[in-house]
């Protein structure tokens, strides 16, 4: 397979790199995808998969099938276990057996895995994450009216909570930090979302640390540091994602890449939830395990592999989510992330009866982030404006 491109990972990052390579004129038969699960599916549809009980076919990516038809070699049920960058080979494991695959270019798109905090009891049966189809299959098998605790009030946790609530379960969300969606939204906006969740009958607890997940074999409840206990038949751990970077580094940190997704090793690229990505606004490399970031780098890596020049400024985060009746928009940097990157200036918040909006500025007063939450129909929102403004203010058009 010398000269061929081997893609490790059958998720969004891997699949779209293959597609973009083909678009760039790269022969499909010279592409190999090493995929543990196949066909690839979209994690963004897990909540609907759960709450509307749509068949798996609807969350699967139609593109996976298309790639097979086009002649891309897919090694399904296979895992990459080792990498020899000198010999340009990847060690793989299939059905218990191992072998080696040679590569001309290697794309590491091994994704991320849910982070499980070191809390006693996270290994109990009934404690799941919200990351894969098996998690969702378990949750959908719960008898109606079960009690569930969701730990972590990020986008994943909240969409899971709403989906579970829709199924008629009693849901409690527990967040360690001071507000829900702490990385995404400013306080007043988070509060707005929280109010609506409460109205849905979802109990939301912030600044609450889980001390222990209780139970013998099966989970029975959750105890907080203050001693408060919540009885639950299942616990969803939505406490973030960590990179699957083991193929390239041992420390569990995301793989460092350049603007075109190149790692330090010749012919080796990395993208998606296992790797860093560049932030458009600051130009800094950050760890941002979001689907469209993988999509962005899938374009760049494909271009770099076929030898086209890549001059890329990075990604403007553009997040939308419907959390129950609330629509959440976030474009650019949130206050928390801006602070972490050291560019936070002012934050302005305004709002009306059924909406709240925040604008985040850097120290020079330039717009770097825009957030909005709203419920019910509003004729138009300023998201496009924020997107254009940020693009204008910070280095022209995004590639």
């Amino acid at each position: 397979m010398s000269g061929g491109t081997v893609i490790v990972g059958g998720g969004i990052g891997g699949v779209y790199t293959a597609m973009n390579l083909i678009r760039e004129g790269f022969p499909p038969e010279k592409i190999t995808i090493i995929a543990r699960e196949w066909p690839a599916y979209s994690r963004h549809r897990l909540a609907e998969f759960l709450s509307s009980k749509v068949p798996f076919g609807r969350i699967a990516l139609g593109l996976s099938k298309r790639l097979s038809w086009m002649g891309v070699r897919v090694l399904a049920g296979t895992e990459a276990i080792s990498l020899d960058t000198a010999e340009k080979t990847v060690g793989i494991k299939t059905n218990g057996g191992t072998s080696e695959v040679e590569y001309g270019n290697l794309v590491v798109a091994t994704g991320g895995r849910p982070f499980l905090p070191p809390i006693p009891g996270v290994g109990l049966k009934g404690v799941v994450t919200f990351h894969g189809s098996n998690d969702v299959e378990f949750l959908s098998s719960l008898p109606g009216g079960s009690r569930t605790v969701v730990i972590g009030a990020g986008l994943v946790g909240l969409t899971a909570a709403v989906a579970l609530r829709k199924l008629g379960h009693g849901v409690t969300v527990i967040e360690a930090r001071g507000r829900i969606l702490p990385n995404l939204l400013e306080g007043p906006l988070a509060e707005f979302v929280g109010d609506h969740l409460t109205r849905l009958g979802i109990q939301v607890l912030t600044s609450s640390l889980v001390e222990e997940v209780e139970g013998d074999e099966w989970v029975e409840g959750v105890r907080l540091r203050g001693g408060e206990e919540f009885w639950a038949k299942s616990v969803v751990m939505a406490t973030g994602v960590r990179p699957n970077s083991g193929l390239l580094r041992r420390d569990g940190r995301p793989i460092e890449v350049d603007e075109a997704g190149r790692t330090g090793f010749p012919g080796v690229y990395a993208l998606g939830d296992c790797a860093m990505s560049r932030d458009f606004i600051t130009g800094e490399f950050v760890y941002r395990p979001l689907g469209f970031v993988a999509g962005h780098y899938a374009q760049l890596v494909a271009r770099a592999i076929v030898g086209r020049a890549v001059a890329d400024r990075g990604v403007i985060p553009t997040v939308y989510e419907a959390i129950g009746p609330v629509e959440v928009y976030a474009v650019g940097l949130g206050g928390a992330e801006a602070e972490k990157l050291g560019v936070l200036g002012d934050v302005e918040v305004e709002g009306g009866e059924n909406w709240r909006e925040a604008r985040v500025f850097d120290a020079d007063g330039r717009l770097i982030g825009w957030e909005r939450v709203q419920s019910g129909h509003l004729h138009s929102v300023g998201s496009a404006n924020a997107y254009l403004r940020i693009r204008e203010l910070h280095g022209g058009r995004a590639e």
Binding site: S380, V381, A384, L388, E392
Partner: protein
Amino acid sequence: MFVLGVIYENCTGCHLCELACSYKHGGTFNPLLSRITILTKPEVQTSVQVYCLQCNDAACERVCPVDAIKRDKSGAYVIDYSRCIGCRECAYACPFGAISFDFKARPIKCDLCGGEPECVDVCPHDAIIFGPEEKVSRELKRAKATGVAYGIYGGAESPYRRKKAEEAENFLREIWKRNEGLEL
């Protein structure tokens, strides 16, 4: 503030303003690309002039989701095409239909030619005027009164039309007299 006004009573529907406008904004003659539109029905010499009134607190400006419409120093709301996303929200918001679209479906509207409107310049019957707000509204009122006198709005017979024709006849005789003995 300078404003543009169209005197309905004077407009005969020749469409020259449309051609001038489309030339001024794109070097081509195409009434569909004009920022001013004269809907005409020549058989009853009537027309409806559709043009931007440069409203105060204009709807187009307010609804634009990307803030691409701004008022310039001549008082015209101008579309910034580097920002415009072509969503046509402005056109739907304009109660007068004064925003239309070009071939690329970009919205186009009157920009008062930066303070020197070409349509005003070409109008052969002084039906399009540009000037201080008070002056324009005075002109519009005067035209309305003349129109009533002329019988444009129907109603009683008007001596005005006959008088104008008589004046024309007399002026013709005057010209003949003037040209008598003219050496060519």
